[in-house]
């Protein structure tokens, strides 16, 4: 090396050698700056060629020899190919991508694809400095671009399209993959329910239809939901309320994008916590909340349940209800569809608690809290939305009725529907009893209350709507409030709502009136009854 001194520069000279005899072939391994790869942190690395393409090239190896083979098949195939000019590209090992695994199984994975055209017009050389100061130049044989491979599960094209369609709605992004994972777990676990579940799921709009966005088959839900417990779960409500609230507070960290409910930022859920839990489907908003709560409601679930999902959804809706005390109307707007169903569900659960249902519904105060155990964000509202969309998968396709968040009118509509179908187990007292009015399986005929007229055939499991039970108390209430004619009274106890036929209604009403012995007044030529307390 000679040093040349010059006025404003100092230079050193080094010889450049291009070794001839290198047996090594040099390649470039290029990473993207954004991946922040630091090779010095690698403790161990393995790299091998990705031979997965070989299968494609060596395809169509039909049975050779004996069964199924033809004499001279290969030659004929080759001749045919030549005739048509089909040129198949050879499988060259040199052109295959590399698979680089860094730091063992838990480390990163990269796929390195060869970049073409590197050596066509210019050659690249690697200049390294040798200990003796001279440079050695090695030609670069190939250039591979290494891309990190994702270890997390990605959506398939169909799923991606689905999610794209829901992007404008409140979506908990965390949930998408989690639901998918959980659903897969479920499929592995519940074989017996699989048919139902899948059926339900499909009905609910395809495999991805979680979150209850599509409530197509209300009937299904009604019928199937009929067999459930909520009585026991109701009973637990008090106890579980606290737990639920706590959970609600805990979970739901992921429900970020709830419409207008941003206050629940206090949750802090971990991904892994809820993975093992079984859920039918997860709604967008409250999935993470719902899952941990699953355990609790299940304790009280002794009743025979026609369907596991039903029970699960029961639990969920209960949970929901607890949380949703306040936030009834919140989500309603968005999910008009869901409301009828949800209302039904709610009715099933507790058949109570809606303001419009009956004025005297005591449940309102309690049940909402008790019932709305759903893990939707404590603040409000998540309930409804969560009910609809965030059903944590336990019940695919059955909308979990967010009892809390139903508006009066919707509730009324739902209750009508319900009552048309369900039996009213005849509780003497409305509210508390009403809560227990889950659809009892037709096998278990609801215990008819003494006051009720004979129930319709038990084949019909109709919801008990405590609200409009034709009871003495109810009549008394009406008559105290204002004088009414018999016609008015009958109107109040519509057959649809009470589940009794018109004749029965008349009979029962007559009995009640006899007992009450109200005072009579003639107004407008019509006989009015009234009571004074």
């Amino acid at each position: 090396m000679t040093s040349l001194g010059s006025s404003s520069s100092s230079a050193t000279e080094y010889t450049v050698r291009v070794p001839k005899n290198t047996s090594k072939k040099y390649n470039i391994m290029a990473f993207n700056a954004g991946d922040r790869v630091n090779c010095s942190t690698w403790t161990q690395a393995r790299m091998e060629r990705d031979m997965s393409a070989r299968r494609i090239y060596g395809e169509e190896e039909t049975a050779e020899g004996a069964a199924g083979s033809e004499f001279g098949k290969k030659q004929r195939e080759e001749a045919r190919r030549k005739k048509f000019g089909i040129v198949t590209r050879e499988f060259k090992v040199e052109e295959q991508p590399w698979i680089l695994k860094v730091n063992g199984k838990a480390g990163k994975r990269f796929k390195g694809q060869k970049k073409g055209g590197v050596t066509e017009n210019a050659s690249y050389y690697i200049f390294t400095q040798c200990p003796d100061g001279a440079f050695e130049a090695f030609p670069v044989n190939g250039w591979y671009n290494f891309i990190p491979q994702a270890k997390h599960r990605t959506l398939t094209a169909e799923e991606a399209e689905e999610e794209w369609g829901r992007r404008n709605k409140v979506v908990n992004h965390f949930n998408i993959m989690l639901q998918k994972r959980l659903r897969e777990q479920e499929h592995g676990e519940d074989d017996e329910d699989e048919a139902e579940k899948s059926g339900k799921k499909k009905k609910k709009g395809g495999g991805g239809g979680r979150g209850g966005d599509l409530r197509i088959h209300d009937l299904e839900d009604d019928l199937e939901m009929s067999s459930d417990d909520s009585d026991s779960s109701m009973g637990e409500d008090g106890g579980s309320k606290a737990k639920v609230k706590k959970n609600a507070a805990k979970g739901g960290a992921k429900k970020k994008k709830r419409k207008g409910n941003d206050n629940e930022a206090l949750e802090d859920s971990d991904d892994g916590d809820y993975e093992g839990l079984e859920v039918d489907y997860m709604s967008d908003e409250s999935s993470s909340d719902e899952e941990p709560e699953k355990g609790k409601p299940s304790k009280g679930e002794d009743h025979p349940k026609g369907i596991d999902e039903a029970s699960e959804s029961e639990e969920e809706s209960e949970e929901e209800k607890q949380n949703d005390e306040e936030g009834k109307e919140e989500e309603e707007e968005e999910e008009g569809k869901k409301t009828p169903v949800q209302m039904e569900k709610k009715k099933k659960k507790d058949s109570s608690g809606e303001s419009d249902i009956s004025d005297d519904s005591d449940i309102e105060g309690d049940t909402p809290s008790a019932l709305f155990m759903k893990s939707t964000p404590p603040k409000r509202g998540g309930g409804r939305g969560s009910a609809g969309s965030s059903r944590t998968g336990s019940r695919p396709g059955t909308p979990s009725i967010d009892s809390a968040s139903t508006s009066n009118t919707l509730h009324a509509a739902a209750s009508k529907l319900e009552q048309g179908k369900r039996q009213i187990p005849g509780p003497g007292t409305d509210s508390p009893a009403a809560k227990r009015l889950k659809m009892e399986p037709s096998s278990q005929s609801p215990v008819p209350s003494g006051k009720n007229t004979p129930q319709p055939p038990s084949g019909k499991s109709t919801p008990s709507s405590s609200d409009v039970q034709l009871t003495e108390e109810a009549v008394r209430r009406y008559l105290i409030r204002k004088p009414m004619t018999t016609k008015d009274l009958l109107k109040k106890f519509q057959t649809k709502r009470t589940g009794l036929s018109s004749e029965q209604t008349v009979n029962v009403l007559a009995q009640i009136l006899k007992r009450l012995n109200p005072e009579r007044k003639n107004v407008n030529d019509k006989m009015h009854f009234y009571l004074t307390e």
Partner: protein, 255 residues
């Protein structure tokens, strides 16, 4: 085989920094002509007014360009001075890995600088480039005009060579004689053991029997596939065949 996948990380551990240099094709060609020792030139690294300047000088013997034709050497010279333009590797992290002849992989180092080797542009260089351009624009295929017509082929022939061979072959092999039925059957069974489907022509070839006779026998023991994947092939009747399925075969092979 243990080394097959393991990458030798020693180079990277030592934080060996290398330069990635883009070199023009003509220059690399000259480098290929270097002597055994491999010395191709000198590199000068200097600081001029604060900026690092790198310049590569090609050694004298290599700058003599021997073009293909061999007539022009001396007149054209590969430029000798090549300043390097240096860049940093901002956007990419690049490493160098090598694969030895034994398929051993090792990580040689990280690229710390990128450089381009540019020649000093002068007339000499321009002439060189012109030459290169001319060569590259020449079409690969050329039409040549012949002075004299080809007369060696396409003469009328009494009988083509190919035909003559064919006839000779036919004569030597003679007509196919019908062998004993049982013998033919044995032959057929053994051939069908090798493959399931056969063309009648192939069977004739194998058994050396006249077609009609063979067909008669085949009609007795086999069926003809006129449709399907194996069109127009003969196969044995089910009662005569006992092929194992492919899976079983594999199992037995593996066992």
């Amino acid at each position: 085989m243990s080394d097959r996948t393991e990458v030798n990380l020693s180079g990277v551990k030592q934080s060996k920094g290398v330069w990635l240099v883009k070199v023009p094709k003509y220059l690399s060609q000259q480098w290929d002509k270097a002597t055994e020792k491999g010395e191709v030139g000198k590199i000068t690294i200097g600081k001029k007014q604060g900026k690092t300047e790198v310049c590569f000088s090609l050694s004298a013997e290599l700058s003599a360009l021997h073009s293909a034709v061999g007539e022009k050497d001396g007149a054209l010279q590969v430029p000798r001075e090549h300043p390097f333009t240096m860049h940093t590797v901002g956007g990419q992290t690049m490493a160098v890995f090598s694969q030895s002849s034994t398929d051993e992989l090792s990580l040689e180092g990280m690229v710390v600088h990128r450089a381009e080797c540019r020649p000093v542009v002068n007339d000499n260089y321009m002439k060189l480039k012109k030459l290169q351009l001319k060569e590259s624009t020449k079409p690969q295929r050329l039409s040549q005009q012949l002075e004299r017509a080809i007369t060696t082929v396409f003469k009328p022939v009494a009988n083509h060579d190919f035909n003559l061979e064919y006839e000779k072959k036919k004569k030597s092999e003679g007509k196919m004689v019908r062998a004993e039925r049982q013998v033919v059957l044995d032959m057929l069974f053994s051939t069908f053991e090798k493959h399931q489907y056969y063309n009648i022509k192939d069977l004739v070839d194998i058994t050396r029997q006249p077609v009609t006779y063979l067909k008669e026998i085949m009609r007795e023991i086999g069926t003809y596939n006129s449709k399907g994947a194996h069109k127009s092939t003969w196969e044995l009747k089910p009662e005569y065949r006992h092929y194992q399925s492919a899976e079983e075969e594999e199992e037995t092979k593996a066992a």
